[in-house]
Symmetry: none
C-alpha cells in the first residue's frame, strides 16, 4: 500500500484544528556568523519551540532545491515526485482561471518584437491596465483556431495566461520563448507525436496574435511557456477528510491551494490581514494554511536585513495564533531562500510542531541549528501532514 | 533492487547471535513532566545505553500508529506497507491453527442474541471451558457447507477462530459484526464479485450456527471479522539465513513469529520465565525475539505507575541477558503506548543496539529524549534488522 492509500484508509474526521504557517524561504545561510533566523529576535517562536517538537525537513530529497509547487505539495501531503505541476497550471489557478480536465494552459508574456528579433521579453513591463486592453483585443479577434477555443486572461504587468479548450490537446510542447533577448521568434515544437496538432494551433495563435497586435508596440508579440494540463490529483477532503482554508496573497500559492481542494481567501499584502483572516475564519474550517511571502522575496533580493526584520514581524503574531488554541500548530517553510544566494536553495527547513500530545524536545530556539537537535530529526517534508494528522488525533491505527 | 532482494543476496550464515527484546508499548508521554521511561529507575538499561548506539524508530512512517502486526513485521525486516496482514490470520496463527495457502480464516466472538438484536458482543465473556464445549458442538454439527470444510478453534473467553477450507475462497468480505450492541445480526457482504461464493458460505454458516446454538444462551450467535488468507511472505531463514526463536506469550505475537518462520516457545505469563527460556535455548538458535507484553497492557489501561514498575522489572534482567554475551542486543519496542492516551500511538520507539562493533554515542539514559540524541537518529524500523545483521557481521558487501 502506498502512503496515500494508507492515509486515506485511516484518516477520521474530528473537531480538532490544524494550523500550518508557511514562512516562505525562511531558512538561510550565515552572514557575520548568523543566519537570518539566528539574527532575528524571535522570543515568541523561541518560547514555542521549547514546548514543541522540532526538526529539519527536506522538501523533495536531500540536495534538491524545489520550486514553490513541489515544496508546497509536499507540505500538503502529496508526493512531489509523483504529482508534477506545470507552471502554466499554477499561474492559471492563481489568477482564478477555471481549468477543465481537457484544457491546456500556458504562461504568457507580452513582448516587444522589432527588426526580426525579440528586443524586450517583458514589453517594457506595460501597466496591468494596458495588459487588460490587449487581452480584450486578442479575445475579440481570435476566438477559435482549428476548432480549439482560445482565451487570454490578463495578469500583472506583462503577464497573461493562455487557455486552449478542445479535444486531444497535449502538453508535450517546448516553450515558445527564446528565454533571451535579441533572438528571433521561437515557435513551440511537439515533444511527442500526439502533440503535433496542439503545436500547430499554438503556432497559428502566435502568428495571428502578432497580426492583431501590429499597432500595439511595445506589446506586439507573445511568448508562451509552461504548457500544461491539470494533473489528476485527489483533494485534501478526499484523501484526509479535511475542510481546508488557504490564506495567501500571491497567485502561485492560491493556485496550489485550490489545486488540492482548499478554499482560498486573499490575505492582502499586509502581514496583519493574514492573521486577522485566520482568526475570523477559525470556526469554519479544520485545516488552515497561512502563507507568508515576504521572507522569500527579501531572500531573493539578497536583502538580509529586511528578511530578518520580517521574521521579527511574524514573531509578534505568534501569541495571537496560540490564543486560538489550535490542536496542532506547525511553523515551517516550503524551502529555504538564503539572502546570500538570492534564490531558493536546497537547505532543509526549520520545522516546529506544537500540540498537547508530544514530548517537548530540548530545542531552545527556533533556528536551523537548534531544530537539527530536535526529536523529529531530519525528515522528508511529505511526513509533515501525517504528523499533523496524528497529533490532531485524526488517524486510526494502521493494521491490527 | 528492493531492500529484501539486497539482504537476501548479501546475508551470510555465521555463529554470531542476535537478541531482540521487544518491550511492547514502551514509549510514552510525559505525566508530571516525565514519560514512563523517564520516571522508571533503569540503571541497567541506562548503563547499557552508554555503551550502545541509540535512536528513535518509526514503525511505518512518521505519524502512523501501527497495529502489532505491521509494527512487528518492520522489526523482523519486512516492509509493513507491502505485507498486509489480516487480523484473522494473526489470531489463527497465534492459537496454533495450521493455515494452508487456499484457506480462509476469521476471528470470531460468541455473542448473545435476544429479541432480534445482539445484546452482548462477548456473550458475558463465557469461560474458556464453556467456549471449548460450544466449539465442539458446532464442529460436530457443521462439517461442510457447499463443499467447503468448516472448523472452529476455541480461544480465550468468548473468542474463536473460524477456518474455511476449499477452492476459490476469497477474503474480500466485510465483517459480519455490527461492532456495536443492540443492533440486528449483520451478515458478511462481498467486496468483489470473486467473493460472492465465499459470502454465501459464511452467511449460511452464521444461520446454521444460530440453529445449533439455540439452547446455548448466552452464547447463541457468532460474530465474524477480519476475514483473511495467508500472505505470501518469505521466511527469515530464506531471506536472512537465520535460525530464529520467538519467546512470547500472547497469541498475536506467537502468530507473527510463526508467520515469518520462527520457532515459538511460550514464555508464560511471568517475566522471569521468558528470560529463563532465552538462557536455556541460547545454544540452539542465532536469532532470539523475546516479547514483553505487560508494558503495553498497562499503557492501554492508562496505568502509568504500573507501566513504570514493569519497566523497572525488565531492567533487572538486563545483566542476565548480557551474561549470555550476545553479539548483538537490541532493546526497543514495536510501537509506543502512552498511558496518557490509553492506546497505541504514533510516537517513535526508543531504540538501543549494543555490540562490539560500534562507536558508543553520548546517550546517557535509555529514554525517548536521550535516544533522540543518538547516532541512529530518527529512522524507519525496517532498518532494525539490517542493522542487527550488520553488527553481527552477517552481511557481505553490497556490490563490488
Amino acid at each position: 500500500m502506498e502512503r496515500e492509500e494508507i492515509l486515506k484508509e485511516i484518516t477520521i474526521k474530528n473537531d480538532s484544528k490544524i494550523v500550518l504557517i508557511v514562512i516562505d524561504g525562511l531558512g538561510g545561510l550565515p552572514y557575520k556568523g548568523k543566519t537570518e533566523l539566528e539574527t532575528a529576535r524571535t522570543p515568541n517562536l523561541d518560547r514555542l519551540a521549547q514546548k514543541s517538537i522540532c526538526g529539519l525537513s527536506d522538501p523533495v530529497f536531500m540536495g534538491i532545491t524545489p520550486g514553490s509547487g513541489p515544496a508546497h505539495l509536499a507540505l500538503f501531503g502529496y508526493d512531489p515526485t509523483k504529482y508534477i505541476l506545470g507552471r502554466g497550471i499554477l499561474e492559471a489557478l492563481g489568477i482564478g482561471v477555471e481549468v477543465g480536465e481537457k484544457d491546456l494552459v500556458a504562461r504568457g508574456n507580452f513582448a516587444t518584437f522589432k527588426d526580426g528579433k525579440i528586443i524586450d521579453r517583458r514589453a517594457g513591463r506595460i501597466s496591468t491596465e494596458e495588459n487588460k486592453k490587449i487581452c480584450d483585443l486578442l479575445n475579440q479577434n481570435i476566438k477559435e483556431i482549428e476548432g480549439v477555443k482560445i482565451s487570454l486572461f490578463s495578469g500583472k504587468e506583462h503577464r497573461f495566461v493562455l487557455k486552449l479548450e478542445g479535444d486531444n490537446l497535449s502538453d508535450y510542447l517546448t516553450d515558445a520563448d527564446p528565454q533571451k533577448e535579441n533572438q528571433p521568434i521561437k515557435y513551440t515544437a511537439p515533444l511527442k507525436e500526439e502533440a503535433e496538432f496542439t503545436a500547430k494551433v499554438v503556432n497559428q495563435f502566435i502568428d495571428k496574435a502578432m497580426q492583431v497586435l501590429k499597432g500595439s508596440y511595445p506589446a506586439n508579440t507573445v511568448l508562451l511557456r509552461g504548457f500544461s494540463k491539470l494533473p489528476d490529483i485527489p483533494s485534501m477532503q478526499e484523501l484526509f477528510k479535511l475542510n481546508p482554508l488557504a490564506i495567501a496573497n500571491y497567485p502561485m500559492y492560491k493556485g496550489l491551494a485550490r489545486l488540492v481542494g482548499m478554499r482560498v481567501i486573499d490575505s492582502g499584502q499586509e502581514i496583519d490581514s493574514g492573521f486577522k483572516i485566520l482568526k475570523e475564519n477559525y470556526a469554519y474550517y479544520d485545516f488552515f494554511y497561512l502563507h507568508i511571502k515576504k521572507t522569500d522575496s527579501y531572500g531573493e533580493d539578497g536583502n538580509f536585513e529586511e528578511k530578518v526584520k520580517y521574521i521579527e514581524k511574524v514573531d509578534k503574531y505568534i501569541p495571537d495564533v496560540l490564543s486560538l488554541k489550535p490542536d496542532v500548530l506547525v511553523i515551517t517553510s516550503d524551502h529555504s531562500t538564503p539572502a546570500l544566494l538570492k534564490s531558493h536553495s536546497w537547505h532543509p527547513n526549520p520545522f516546529l510542531l506544537y500540540s498537547r500530545n508530544l514530548i517537548p524536545d530540548n530545542v531552545k530556539k527556533f533556528t536551523e541549528l537548534e531544530c537539527a537537535k530536535g526529536m523529529l530529526g531530519r525528515f522528508q517534508a511529505i511526513n509533515a501532514l501525517s504528523l499533523m494528522l496524528a497529533h490532531a488525533l485524526k488517524l486510526k491505527k494502521f493494521g491490527a
